[in-house]
Symmetry: C2
Subunit: 700 residues, 2 copies
């Protein structure tokens, strides 16, 4: 009893720490990015432009090239840093990290995905990538970092060499998964200032099954994280009243809050466009990823590609600045790119293009949402949307930590605002058409079309704009975008997962799968043991297989008809870790001896077995000894009969979060085993026909 209370309390303490640490990671990222931007603008740019003005450099165009070269060099060096960290230290930290977290929460163990190394690379890598001017968001990596922090704290260690021994009671897969979901929620809360959205995200994208107490703890982590981030950043940037900061990506409050019913069809059109462009994004990115997998496999090639993208991104910005002449009087919108404006605009004006291309992307989104009419020319918006779209398609999947949220929002905000200008042009006499409103809808539509999240994305956008008024239209836009997008392709994260060939189980069993039975799904070449087993055989099996668990049966006979043995009744199963622990503790007796099989082991002895390290060697005498597994086995594994249908099996895996399922015949004799991978092989294709996938051999 007391113990149960203590564990309960520890869970809350762990969640508190997860919230705090995730916020700290967010703070580090934000301050690094901010400092780098300051450095870039004030020291490099300002200084150079000043020198240009003073005529020290070559006159005219030449000076511009100098600025541009310095800018590109700085960006490339930052991206070089990020790419080196990823390529040479922690390849799993590449990309957004949301697909990896999704897989982890779905019950699939990918090595190192929530390790300390990944966390460090993620935090510093994403800071460098964003500072390097890539079309990359820091939100996805924030969420991944949150997950890694959740795992690290709950396990009481981030690395096997640093083990102070806290929270030993949480060292099992189930608890770890719960804390990772709390960390992911905290990550969303820190990234967008949206704790409710964070919880919904963790539930929607992650947790296979819903649990009230877990959700409440996730919410606690998310709230603490969002609060800590607000308090600290408010203090750091000395911005007005306490606690007024709101997450890293804060889209500002809309002043003009109303919309009328006749605007809803227009919003739906925005949704359709977002679904199409989102699907286009996904399929282009999928093609590029496939290409990359084949032709850019080498480490150096990947590094060069990252540098190339950095250079092209910077170059594109400058070329656009040069070609598009969009100078706007100061004071009309926000201006955060002082140095650059002076290059191309008269005094008292600033360059709208520079404002879009060179400012912090979150600020660009804000200025697209809130700038008054006339701040951006239609051509600027069009060119920017197309260029940013192409660049972000190319960027996502590079060997740097980079998210897709902010690029998608920014692209969408640009074409959404363009759409809004179009609406205004068509209906010049109707008051109340604010292009910012359409920018918001466009941003939602583009992001929804790319990631295909539903309720959590709505909550995130609502919380980030701090207003419920646009709830209905945003929901409708996201819904339409998802429908339209689903018509063409899967969501970006699902495509990533498909590319990496991980056996993720979706929400529902594939349709038309009713005729597939357990006997077709299972693998019958399984390795089972009897309850009393020779040590030699155990050692042999452990060496020969990498299975995670072994069924125990009452007898094993030679089969008449097949080369596989004929297994008897299923009695239970035993884990690999248990076998290793038993062997290490020498819980067996020599041949012929009777009585108790060595010392009884307690549950405590079975945790903390690190399978990677354990090589069990036995002497010849020991090999003949007998072990009794009966006291340690799990005596009632989940089982299904041979004629169970695939949807039935699917529901068991999803609903209970299983890793394997025994298949027995009508006499309860073991006939096969079904793993998650066996179930995940069956997938729907477009026309509802069933497809069998070949899935790579991740160990799980």
């Amino acid at each position: 009893q007391l113990n149960l209370r203590r564990i309960q309390l520890n869970r809350w303490i762990a969640c508190f720490l997860i919230g705090i640490c995730t916020a700290l990671a967010g703070i580090v990222i934000d301050i690094l990015v901010h400092t780098s931007a300051d450095f870039k603008f004030h020291y490099i740019l300002q200084t150079l432009v000043d020198r240009c003005d003073n005529g020290e450099a070559i006159a005219g165009g030449g000076c511009m090239w100098l600025v541009q070269l310095a800018w590109m060099a700085y960006n490339c060096s930052m991206v070089f840093l990020a790419a080196c960290l990823v390529i040479f230290w922690s390849p799993i930290a590449a990309g957004s990290g949301i697909p990896q977290i999704k897989c982890f929460l779905n019950g699939i163990h990918i090595p190192e995905v929530v390790g300390l190394k990944t966390l460090v690379v993620k935090v510093f890598g994403v800071s460098a990538a964003v500072a390097g001017g890539l079309c990359a968001g820091k939100e996805g990596p924030m969420i991944h970092s949150g997950g890694a922090i959740g795992a690290g704290i709950s396990q009481g260690k981030l690395h096997k060499k640093l083990d102070p021994g806290f929270f030993k009671e949480f060292r099992n897969d189930r608890e770890k998964r719960d804390f990772v979901s709390a960390g992911a929620a905290a990550g969303v809360a820190a990234a967008f200032g949206s704790p409710i959205g964070g919880v919904l995200f963790a539930i929607e994208e992650g947790a296979s099954f819903w649990n009230q107490a877990l959700t409440w703890r996730m919410f606690f982590s998310a709230m603490i994280s969002s609060f800590t981030l607000n308090a600290t950043l408010t203090y750091y940037f000395k911005q007005g009243g306490l606690l007024s900061w709101n997450g890293l990506a804060n889209f500002g409050v809309f002043e003009d809050k109303s919309y009328t019913i006749w605007e809803i069809p227009l919003f739906l059109m925005v949704g359709v466009i977002g679904g199409c462009t989102g699907a286009l994004f996904n399929s282009l990115n999928y093609r590029i990823s496939e290409f990359r997998k084949k032709f850019v496999s080498n480490k150096w090639q990947r590094l060069v590609e990252a540098l190339l993208v950095a250079a092209v991104s910077a170059f594109t910005g400058f070329v656009t600045l040069f070609v598009v002449d969009d100078c706007v009087p100061l004071g009309l919108g926000m201006n955060r790119t002082e140095g650059l404006n002076r290059l191309y605009c008269k005094k008292g004006e600033y360059s709208a293009v520079a404002n879009l291309f060179f400012a912090n992307p979150e600020e660009s989104v804000k200025s697209l949402f809130h700038s008054p009419i006339g701040s951006f020319k239609p051509t600027t918006l069009l060119i920017f949307a197309i260029e940013y779209f192409v660049l972000s398609v190319w960027t996502f999947g590079l060997a740097v930590p980079s998210g897709v949220f902010i690029p998608a929002l920014l692209t969408g905000a640009a074409w959404g605002r363009l759409f809004g200008l179009g609406v205004e042009w068509l209906f010049p006499n109707v008051a109340g058409i604010d292009p910012g409103k359409y920018a918001l809808m466009g941003a939602a539509a583009q992001l929804g079309g790319v990631v295909r999240m539903t309720i959590s994305l709505t909550a995130i956008i609502l919380e980030a704009t701090k207003d419920m008024t646009f709830g209905l239209p945003i929901m409708l836009v996201l819904m339409i975008a998802k429908w339209v997008g689903d018509f063409f392709s899967e969501g970006l994260y699902d495509l990533c997962i498909e590319l990496s060939e991980v056996p993720l189980l979706g929400w529902n069993a594939p349709k038309m799968a009713r005729n597939i039975t357990a006997s077709k799904v299972m693998r019958s070449d399984l390795v089972a043991m009897e309850k009393r087993v020779r040590v030699g055989r155990v050692v042999e099996i452990l060496a020969a297989t990498s299975h995670h668990a072994f069924p125990l049966v009452d007898r094993i006979d030679e089969s008449d008809t097949s080369r596989l043995p004929d297994y008897g009744r299923l009695e239970g199963y035993i884990l690999r870790t248990q076998l290793v622990a038993l062997l290490k503790k020498r819980a067996f007796v020599g041949e012929g001896e009777e009585g108790l099989m060595g010392e009884m082991m307690s549950e405590q002895d079975f945790i903390d077995v690190d399978l990677r390290e354990e090589k069990v060697e036995m002497g010849a005498a020991d090999e003949m000894a007998m072990m009794d597994l009966a006291p340690y086995m799990h005596s009632h594994p989940h089982r299904v009969p041979l004629n169970a249908s695939l949807p039935f099996i699917y529901r068991l895996f999803r609903g209970l979060g299983l890793r394997y399922l025994m298949v027995v015949n009508e006499d309860n004799r073991l006939r096969g085993i079904i793993t998650r991978k066996d179930v995940a092989r069956f997938k729907n294709t477009k026309g509802f026909a069933l497809r069998e996938l070949f899935i790579s051999d991740h160990q799980f």
Copy 2:
């Protein structure tokens, strides 16, 4: 394929209709309450007071008594109406309805709980009860109405005689349950203007298992409902810009939005108080309910009790108005009780007491939240809080539809504001202490202490106040209130469910249940059949039992050791509805005949069997005929071995939403069956010791 798409589309259409209709129910309730209040104030009160002023009635105190009598008579007649509807027409419509919806979503069928009659009584009953001045909220009944609408629309009929035949594909328990949860979400959205809170409510209190697509549809219903309500009520009351209305219970926006870190301990204290008073509320109400169950069982007694409470409520208000002298200058707070003020206050002043007791409760909550300092005297608040607490304890559980949300919020807001005044008195030099802030925390704490909801309640309060700033403190307050409350008693709804002896399954298996095995949980006096069975035996079994499904085994032998037969291997199961349909279609052949067992039936033939109507009568010749059940049976029921532990069984029931589970021995021979009721018998008591409950025989 086409069919699948059509069903998918129909689901969305049904959800759209659910949203619209739930909003309409909310609109009807609101307009009825509003009209009644208008009538009461303007026609009864104003007229009488005018006549008093004109000296037509007996002078002074006598006139007051006349007003009071008229007021009480009106209230009592309204409550009489509500109570008659409930007592004589639809007893299930009494109370808040949330426990019933919770049970329904948990998988328990209570007859009539989502029927048309219940809906009508709920909508008009709650309007009358609130109009009758009871300490009752309309929010719980709104949620129940939403659920009933969800069921009615998805089944394409609200009543068996009105069946246009829509949505036939949804006529099964699972789909119905999904739509009821969508309706409940829509109900919350309409009641509080909080669609996200509604979805979270449906998930937290209801849905046994999480499903992304379902959640998205729930959200759609909730959004549509909230939008429709806003649009219609804004139009009806002609209040400013379009869509500015926000749910029935809208708590207004806080102007003074900040709080400082040193206030958090104070908020936590509020949480502790709320937990205590909430637990007190629950245990007092539990006592009263037990008393009622024993001594107020008669219909007329229940009617009299309802009238008594109505009279006492009105009387208490007047007495307090008379005793407590709290006249406040006009313009300081809100004033909506013109007529009454004139009785007790000078010109240019109004009575703060009247404002609390006689205004619409939602308005009272708002004025406690937002009125400036000095609007209420501490004594007024104290007396009001105590009186309202007592009255609402007495009211909840009366034979009228009445919720507990608003009474709890109002009580909490009153003592919270008192607490705020206390804080201000203690720290007179600190700026920024707004008693309204503490009123909000008090309201949250009281409600949290009573209902013990977590994340959904946070979301509801945040959305109803339209501000995220107080997110962290509200969450902390609710958390503390729940912890403290759980220390003393269960949540109010759980107590209601316990009183009604319904076998609800909680989130987790009871602790200390690992040693209880399936052989202890199961009932072995089950009725099974062979696959080829005599018609006579089927008729006999259908008449003798009320089971919902029957296991099929390969043989049934006499047992040597027990009076129960010895069943053979489990082969499948068949539903009662299927048996009835087979008998009605005469899907059997006479004795001795061979070949196909009559006509094959399709799935379509098995829906729409109404068990209440079907009395199957067979001739003597038919009784000897044989039926073959093999083509129709479900061939792989969920099964567990005899040694499966209770937590294991619990997880199966919860995770998969099962109704029954077969228990087999190691040869796969049927040994018993476990129903939801058998699992629900085992409950935790305080000290973690396990308790076996006796559960009444609801049919399910």
